[in-house]
């Protein structure tokens, strides 16, 4: 009798804890169902639409998101550099390469909670395509780090992990299915403050 009760208890514990924890983990992991990965960047084109999978729906509800529509744009995020190392606020990075056609795009760094990292000065914590300098072949080269850099500089501050968010507005890559053919800039680590 006691043995049956114990076994029932074991079954219930594994079911409830295992089931709950697995949902929590999959919603927290960035590499989720429906992700499109291009180089270091990840996007969820179907997230927040009527065609979204149950994981995206649960994430939208849990985080209280209102995602960009197809006529508005598509947002990519990156948590690792080109060598696979996690992006950190105390390091300097160079973001360079071609960008897909869009009316404009914005780039900013966010902390794990999703808040924008600013330099703590009057300088904006985000860059956009109307203000960046371009190279002769129309590609961009942006320095991201705590130390001022010539050319395009995305100012960072503080320490800890970060996510870079690159959002394209009014762009054909959001409205067509061709998001996988797109080439995005690479994120190369330059160095870190000791």
């Amino acid at each position: 009798m006691l043995k049956t009760a114990f076994l029932t208890f074991v079954v219930l514990c594994i079911s409830i804890v295992g089931g709950g924890a697995s949902v929590w983990y999959t919603l927290k992991a960035n590499e989720s169902v429906g992700a499109v990965t291009i180089g270091e960047w990840t996007a969820f084109p179907l997230m927040g639409t009527l065609d979204a999978d149950p994981y995206s729906r649960a994430r939208v509800a849990r985080e209280g998101l209102l995602t960009l529509g197809r006529a508005e744009g598509l947002s990519f995020s990156a948590q690792r550099d080109s060598d696979g190392g996690a992006l950190r606020r105390e390091c300097s990075y160079r973001i360079e390469g071609p960008v897909p056609s869009a009316r404009f795009w914005t780039l900013y760094a966010a902390d794990p909670a999703g808040a924008v990292i600013s330099a703590g000065t009057r300088r904006s914590g985000a860059l956009h395509s109307y203000q960046v300098l371009r190279l002769a072949d129309n590609s961009v080269s942006i320095a991201a780090g705590a130390h001022p850099a010539p050319g395009n500089w995305l100012a960072l501050s503080g320490t800890g992990p970060m996510t870079l968010v690159l959002t394209f507005f009014d762009t054909p890559i959001a409205s067509s299915t061709g998001a996988s053919d797109v080439v995005l800039p690479s994120i190369v680590k330059v160095g870190c403050d000791a």
Partner: protein, 180 residues
Amino acid sequence: MLRLFYACLIGLVGAGIVHIAVLLLLPQFSERDAWSSLAEAGDFYKAVRIDAADGSPPIVKAAGPLFHASACRFDLTNGPVHLRAPGTVPFWSVSIYNRAGQNVYSFNDRATDRGALDFVVLTSDQMIEVRKAVPESFQKAIFVQVPIGEGIVLVRSFVPDPTWEEATSEFLARLACTEE
């Protein structure tokens, strides 16, 4: 020992069932979703600024740092909803979401001539009624037919630099979300 192994096996199957159940029920029971947050911030047909105007955390995560945004909740069973905002800003876009926060329709300023924001959200039944006699106030509006009852309409406006701050704030402050 074998019975314990069986118990673990049944536990794993149970974990799978719980996983699916939690996943499918989560959107219905979430109290942190966009609808709930907006309901706290303002009533139906009231345009609410949702970005962090004074540096506080945004009500709804909807736009990046270079954007201002306003949202209003509506219920189409009361009749069509009419949105207007005068003024010129570098870029605006509109998204219509259903009760669950899923994007059902979106467009941007290039969808209109002269970039004026003036549109009516309605169901296809209401569209048939409106076609019989278009009201004076709808003459220049864009009609957006959506298959939803309750919903959220969100207007995002791009702020390229601080000099545009005032113009975009003014644009969103004058956003009128009216029940017709």
